[in-house]
């Protein structure tokens, strides 16, 4: 059954590509002026506008949903510094499910490939990651938030994070800095606010901005204080900087090959690139919605094009009498349908731009915490939306175009 669906899908894709190529070739070589199609499209402007609006809706939904997936992916992919190496427990897919013991951390600390700061201190930080269940704003129930216990060096290793309000937490005090995006979504996240978790009270000392990275979905506090507060013996992960990529490779090989260390080391960039699992279901929903809605859009385009062929039967007859063959007539209506749909596609993309940059949150399937990200409409997505619209238009106008091309000249001429 699956095999059959695959064959069907491939046949459909092949046919679409063929019709698309034919239309493109004819668009470039057809003797029928393109102006004729453009002007004809707007003669029946009510039907045309309704079809354009329908296709715009489909393309808008498709691009918006995909923009959500891209935004989610981008927030992960933006994160990480190519000079940093992340170390987590072997087998864990996220920091929240990882453990690095103090002994392991000590061992890593002495690896010679680690870069050092001006004072000769190794640039390495062990972080504690804790999931807190906190209330959202305006009765939105509770959601998990990722709290990162981070050392001063850990903060230096993530220079993209900047304080935008208040001040950084003071080591040894129960203070947190929340991300601006989370502050907009959770209760008691304003500077000076206090909130309780597990019977312990934390004070918000500042608000930070993660520059569209995964850190936009985190709360930060002092690493040692967080270990004490949440009674954690071990760390969750280790982040360190190496001098150059070659040193990084040596360090990674060293850790990965040591049987006594059940740890996984990888470039920080790669780690965050792998944290995009949550985007999968969103993409699927996008594709599914687009497929379902495109069936409707194809019928809308078909309806408009059938009406158009019906109203222009005598024009078709005239063109045939003047010497135009069936193929240019067929192509002319395909091009017209494609143009109509393309206009819908452009409108849909423009509409979806309203969502560009809009922040939204979802539960990450990796960390099981609230991940805040922005809709990201990329040139690639716009291109996808436009190609998608042209395909809808071509399939919608194929049957009407065939009807137009097959009309006998005499019958077409006698039409009123």
């Amino acid at each position: 059954m699956g095999y059959l669906i695959q064959i069907l899908a491939m046949t459909l894709a092949g046919l679409t590509a063929l019709v698309l190529l034919f239309t493109l070739y004819m668009a470039l070589t057809s003797p029928i002026p393109f102006l004729y199609n453009i002007r004809s499209v707007f003669v029946r402007w009510r039907a045309t506008l309704a079809t354009i609006a329908g296709i715009a809706l489909v393309v808008g939904v498709y691009v918006s949903v995909q923009a959500m997936a891209v935004g989610l992916e981008k927030s992960s992919q933006n994160t990480g510094d190519p000079r940093n190496v992340m170390i987590v427990r072997k087998g864990s897919t996220a920091e929240s499910s990882s453990q690095v013991t103090r002994e392991q951390f000590k061992f890593i600390n002495y690896l010679p490939q680690i870069a050092r700061d001006d004072k000769g201190q190794p640039l390495i930080s062990a972080d504690v990651v804790v999931l807190l269940s906190l209330p959202r704003k305006e009765n939105g129930g509770e959601a998990n938030v990722l709290l990162r216990g981070v050392s001063p060096i850990g903060m230096n290793l993530r220079p993209q994070v900047a304080l935008v309000e208040g001040r950084w937490f003071t080591p040894g005090r129960r203070e947190v800095v929340v991300s601006r995006r989370l502050a907009a979504r959770f209760a008691n996240f304003a500077v000076g606010d206090k909130f309780k978790t597990g019977g312990k009270e934390l004070t918000v000392s500042g608000v930070m901005d993660g520059a569209n990275t995964a850190f936009d979905s985190e709360i930060w506090m002092d690493a040692d204080e967080s270990r004490a507060l949440f009674d954690r013996e071990n760390y969750s992960s280790v982040l360190l900087r190496v001098d150059d990529p070659a040193a990084g490779k040596v360090l990674i090989d060293r850790i990965e090959s040591d049987k006594r260390l059940p740890l996984r080391a990888l470039p920080e960039v790669d780690y965050y690139n792998s944290q995009t699992k949550t985007a999968g279901p969103i993409k699927f929903i996008g594709y599914f919605l687009a497929m379902a809605m495109s069936v409707g859009a194809i019928f809308a385009a078909m309806n408009t094009m059938y009406a158009s062929v019906g109203a222009r039967t005598r024009e078709i007859g005239t063109l045939r009498v003047l010497g135009y063959r069936r193929l240019p007539i067929l192509a002319s209506f395909l091009i017209e349908g494609a143009f109509l749909s393309f206009a819908g596609g452009v409108l849909g993309c423009l509409l979806s731009f309203v969502m560009h940059g809009y922040s939204i949150g979802t539960m990450s399937l990796q960390s099981y915490s609230e991940t805040v990200f922005q809709f990201r409409i990329t040139p690639g997505l716009v291109a996808q939306g436009l190609i998608f619209s042209v395909i809808v238009g071509i399939w919608g106008s194929l049957l009407p175009a065939i009807r137009a091309a097959r009309l006998p000249v005499i019958v077409a001429l006698k039409s009123l």
């Binding site: 002026p33 102006l35 004729y36 003669v43 005598r314 005239t318 009498v321 010497g323 135009y324 005499i410």
Partner: protein, 226 residues
């Protein structure tokens, strides 16, 4: 020396099937048309004159018989060959003008030329010449709805002439025009024959229009009566 025949029709029949009944539109018609003449086809509705015109012009096919135009048996050409042949050899003028409403007069006249190998400059020259010939050089950028009926028909004549066909067929070209416009259109068709040597075949009900022709033939029930 006698002028050569441009059209030779032999034993041409056209039978339509309407449900279970066969309707004979043309019955064994034989006819010669000389180069440069204006032949008017007259007869009551349903007499077969338009069918005969359509077969000669290559837009309909006979049931049997032969129709040679300039020594080409048009009944033997396939669809694509017929389309090319029509483009190069026949100019059409319809009762209802049949201009493309969204295209300007210039663009309408240019339509048949877009199928030729002519470049843009040469096309422009030929379109402008054709429009000048029908007295509409100053209306080239008007849409059909901005023109009067007579002007629309003159644009249609310019379109019929622009490829320099040897044969011009006109189906009731004055049927939708007032008498003044009709007179203008007929004069243009007459001058085509007299000064440009074109052969014009015109279907008409109007005896005044028929008077412009050099010869007139009558059809009744699919047969020639004179």
């Amino acid at each position: 020396m006698a002028e050569a025949n441009i059209v030779t029709v032999r034993k041409l029949s056209k039978i339509y099937r309407q449900g279970d009944i066969n309707v004979t539109a043309l019955n064994q018609i034989s006819l010669d048309i000389k180069t440069g003449e204006i032949l008017t086809l007259m007869g009551p509705s349903g007499s077969g004159k338009t069918t005969l015109l359509h077969i000669i012009a290559g837009i309909d096919r006979p049931t049997s018989g032969e129709c040679r135009v300039q020594d080409i048996d048009v009944t033997r050409l396939n669809e694509s060959q017929l389309a090319d042949w029509r483009n190069q050899n026949v100019g059409f003028v319809f009762q209802t003008f049949n201009l493309i409403p969204v295209l300007t007069a210039y663009e309408n006249v240019e339509l048949p030329l877009l199928l030729t190998r002519l470049g843009r400059k040469q096309r422009r020259h030929q379109v402008n010449t054709a429009l000048e010939l029908v007295g509409l050089g100053d209306r080239s950028h008007h849409l059909p709805r901005q023109l009067s009926g007579g002007q629309e028909q003159r644009v249609a004549i310019a379109r019929a002439l622009v490829t320099s066909p040897s044969l011009v067929v006109a189906d009731e070209p004055t049927g939708n025009l007032d008498s003044h416009s009709a007179q203008e259109v007929l004069s243009i068709l007459q001058s085509l024959s007299q000064s440009a040597g074109k052969t014009v075949i015109m279907v008409t009900h109007d005896p005044k229009a028929a008077a412009f022709g050099s010869r007139s033939i009558h059809l009744e029930k699919g047969e020639l009566t004179n």
